[in-house]
Amino acid sequence: MTILKRTTAAALAVALLSGTALSAQAKDYTVKVWAGGTNENSMYRVKAIEMAADFLQRQAALRGEELNITVENQTWSGWDDFKQAVTLANESGTAPNILVTGHEDIGPWAQAGVIRPIEDYVDFDSWPLNQIYENLIEVASYDGQIWGIPQDAESRVFFFAREGLSAIGYSEDQIEALPERIREGEYTLYNMIDDVKKMQDKGLVAKGQGFAPRVKNGPDYWQFYQSFGGEMVDPESGKLIFDKKALTGMYQFFVDAVAKGVVPKTYLGTEWDDWHRNVAAGKYGAWHGGTWHYAQWTKQFKLDDFFGKTVFSLIPAGNADGRANSITHPLVYLLSASGSDDEAAISAELIGIASEPRINALHAVASGHLAIGTEEAKVPFYANDRWSREATEELLPYANSIPNNADFGVYWTAMYKGLEASWTGASPVADAVKTAEAEVKAALGDGIIIR
């Protein structure tokens, strides 16, 4: 072996070894995921990220890289504590990498620098993000940027007990036609009150259990505002709208329902589990909830023959000013501003993979949510699920969302306080509307249009 050869061989060995060393250099990441409003049926919100980590590691291994991703997740069943935890963790610089929350948090969190725009980290023109419904991408956008990737979609639904409707004289055909009549605005919330009162009078439904709305605060109550002609945001100026007439109509409706005896004035604040149990036991005449409740009723609360026992529709219009409607409240995957840019890039890749139709369909079917993209709706596992399919077709095309506006929370809180005050009889409807108006005027000034 000549000196030249030896030198060449040594150089080659060094090069090879260094190559080995490089490829063997493992990259370790710990990705933290926090999800609010998550129960055992919706655990795929975080499990999907774990599945994505496994997928990404396999891809890296095929490229000759060693990538180790540890996913640490934490879930909250409610929202108050989750949101408080996120804002405080952000201030202390310990926020997790991925947040799963309602899209309405994008406004305040973007302003406060809690999150970073996900559009800087992903390509919306490539698979699987290119098949996500455009309107859901809009919901995840705020102030000219796309901040999140839709994690799920849902609609809020109005349900009637078929047995109750039959007993008060509805024929099978009339029951089947009810959703269409509601959609057309022919059947209003007041017709519903009359019908459930009849069910109560016939003794089919106990007194005060004719109508069972959502038991606690939620986006659902904005649907009733819309039922009476309310709009939440002015599309031109982007400002919030406080519609006194619509709010009065909405508050008055619940006061009238109490006066008719179809819902107790002390109803708000009922325990969720009591409500679920009563729904599953067929104790209510009409009620409203979310598409995801289907999963809870059929799995946890053992409701059988759902389609034989209930008929579902949009939330009926309240009067001629309003329309039948539904609110979709998609949850979104957000990238927190905490952590390094590299961690954010890995987290964004994980979110992208977790949005694969087959993976997201696991969440949709398990939790009763709806597909986030065109291709997911074609995944046989999803398409064969009757509830997912029908809810997607019947409700989603008519659903709108609450606005992404940093000030919307103040308005929302005032709206709900007024609803509670009038519903319980603590203040007359006119006073409750005036108080809510004074609250939003004082807090938001010109940021809200009063009309």
Binding site: E91, Q111, A112, T266, G269, A406, W412, E420
Partner: protein, 468 residues
């Protein structure tokens, strides 16, 4: 008297050995010495000082500072940045800002030039990728960065990660839209570079409006004074504190006196039972009240059986909701006052009671003329302590009625807590919550002074006129 003097001297043996004159002489330097701070003393005090500063003074100071800001979860706590966003430009347009300035601020140009290539090279972008950009796009302009990104994606040597391609694209984009400038100077130079014609006044306005953080304001206090809801909550709080306080003191006093007259063992047993509300974890305690008072609860079922109104007493009517709020808090407070009163009762010389019985005094006369006059100090203490603690208490209300029905049982502390820290919609208003807390602190201080004067605290703590 002689005995007392001996005892006093006995406690200072050196005083007896020293002549009187010397003692006076020594007293001078001792007095001077007192002003010297001993390092050991400071060391001993340090932990207490640190704890007081960290947990008492700092929160009070921070609350005061926060109350004069518009801090919310949207502004953040530690400060904001300057961001020119499409929404801001839309608002400024509606307010009549110069359209040329607006156009400049919202404009974006994407062009591939040598300066951009150089900047990308310095940032460590893959040279092969840069070479391709130079070959394909040098001198070309693009409508926006999204179009440019679309073109970059097609290059064979583009980085694998999307984020790296997007980073590279930023070197060729000239726009300040949606850029987060952490400092004012950074924002000023960026705005000037993109809109050189901007006047100082317009610049100031744009900067002010583009700031995402909190600013100093007295608006919280103005809002609190003008909102109709404020007065409702003030009345609720006054009612809640007055009624619950009376419950605490009267029930505590009654139980203490009743158990005082019982045989010692039986009395202790009752005392222990009355402690249960205080030692039960607060969440469990609230759940027990729910089981007792909800429409499916114990009381409602019994009431239904005997034909009384049966409903959710906790939320069903304003009257029953208040009764439950007062009782849940009242029993917790009464157990504390009972312990204090029981202790104080044991210090009353029992001979006085014996003597009164010999004189034929009834139980009520004993309570009225012997016990109550000697209980002034514990009653003052309990009244002061309970007032302040009730003013700031909300947890039982939060866990039971949650301030309802409507906001009829919402008290100031609960509203402050919800405003600042716990809100379903996630919009936490730290500034407003702090302003509410500050008002509570001021009212608490005012009431403390009032109580001290009312109960003639100075007389209670002055030196005894009679020596025992």
């Amino acid at each position: 008297m002689t005995e007392t003097a001996t005892l006093t001297q006995g406690s200072r043996p050196d005083a007896q050995a020293r002549p009187a004159g010397q003692a006076t002489e020594v007293a001078q330097p001792t007095g001077a010495k007192r002003t010297r701070i001993s390092p050991l003393g400071m060391m001993m005090l340090a932990p207490a000082l640190i704890v007081v500063t960290l947990f008492l003074i700092t929160p009070a100071v921070l609350t005061t500072v926060f109350s004069f800001t518009n801090m919310t979860s949207a502004t953040g706590i530690t400060g904001g940045a300057y961001v020119i966003s499409p929404n801001l430009l839309r608002d400024l347009k509606a307010e009549g800002l110069d359209p040329e300035v607006l156009e400049a601020l919202g404009g974006e140009t994407v062009s591939v030039d040598q300066a951009g290539l150089e900047a990308a090279r310095k940032a460590g972008t893959d040279p092969r990728f840069l070479e391709e950009i130079e070959d394909e796009f040098l001198g070309k302009s693009f409508a926006d960065s999204r179009t440019f990104f679309g073109s970059l994606k097609k290059l064979p040597n583009r980085p694998r990660r999307i984020v790296d391609v997007k980073r590279t694209a930023t070197f060729f984009s000239h726009s300040i839209l949606n850029t987060r400038f952490e400092t004012r100077d950074g924002a000023v130079s960026a705005i000037r570079s993109i809109a050189p014609a901007i006047g100082p006044e317009t610049l100031e306005r744009v900067l002010e409006r583009s700031y995402t953080g909190w600013v100093w304001t007295t608006e919280n206090f103005v809002q609190l004074l003008t909102k109709p809801n404020t007065w409702r909550i003030v009345l609720n709080t006054a009612f809640y504190v007055a009624v619950t306080l009376s419950f605490n003191v009267l029930v505590g006093l009654f139980v203490a006196i009743a158990t005082f007259y019982m045989p010692r063992r039986t009395g202790s047993l009752f005392n222990a039972l009355w402690l249960l509300p205080r030692i039960t974890p607060v969440v469990l305690y609230a759940i027990l009240w729910k089981w007792l008072t909800w429409d499916t609860g114990f009381l409602a079922v019994i009431a239904e059986q005997i034909g009384l109104p049966s409903f959710n007493y906790m939320k069903g009517s304003v009257g029953t909701a208040w009764m439950i709020v007062v009782m849940t808090n009242g029993y917790v407070g009464a157990s504390l006052s009972m312990i204090l009163f029981s202790g104080a009762l044991r210090t009353i010389p029992v001979q006085q009671l014996w003597a009164s019985e010999v004189d034929g005094a009834s139980r009520w006369q004993q309570v009225r003329y012997i016990i109550l006059p000697q209980m002034r100090w514990p009653i003052l203490f309990v009244t002061c302590y309970a007032t302040l603690s009730l003013l700031s208490s909300y947890e039982q209300i939060w866990l039971t009625t949650d301030g309802g029905p409507g906001n009829t049982t919402t008290v100031w502390a609960l509203e402050a807590f919800k405003t600042a820290l716990s809100n379903y919609t996630g919009n936490l208003q730290y500034g407003m919550g702090a302003a509410m807390a500050l008002i509570l602190v001021i009212i608490g201080l005012g009431l403390s002074v009032l109580y001290l004067r009312l109960f003639r605290f100075d007389e209670l703590v002055e030196k005894p006129k009679i020596e025992f």
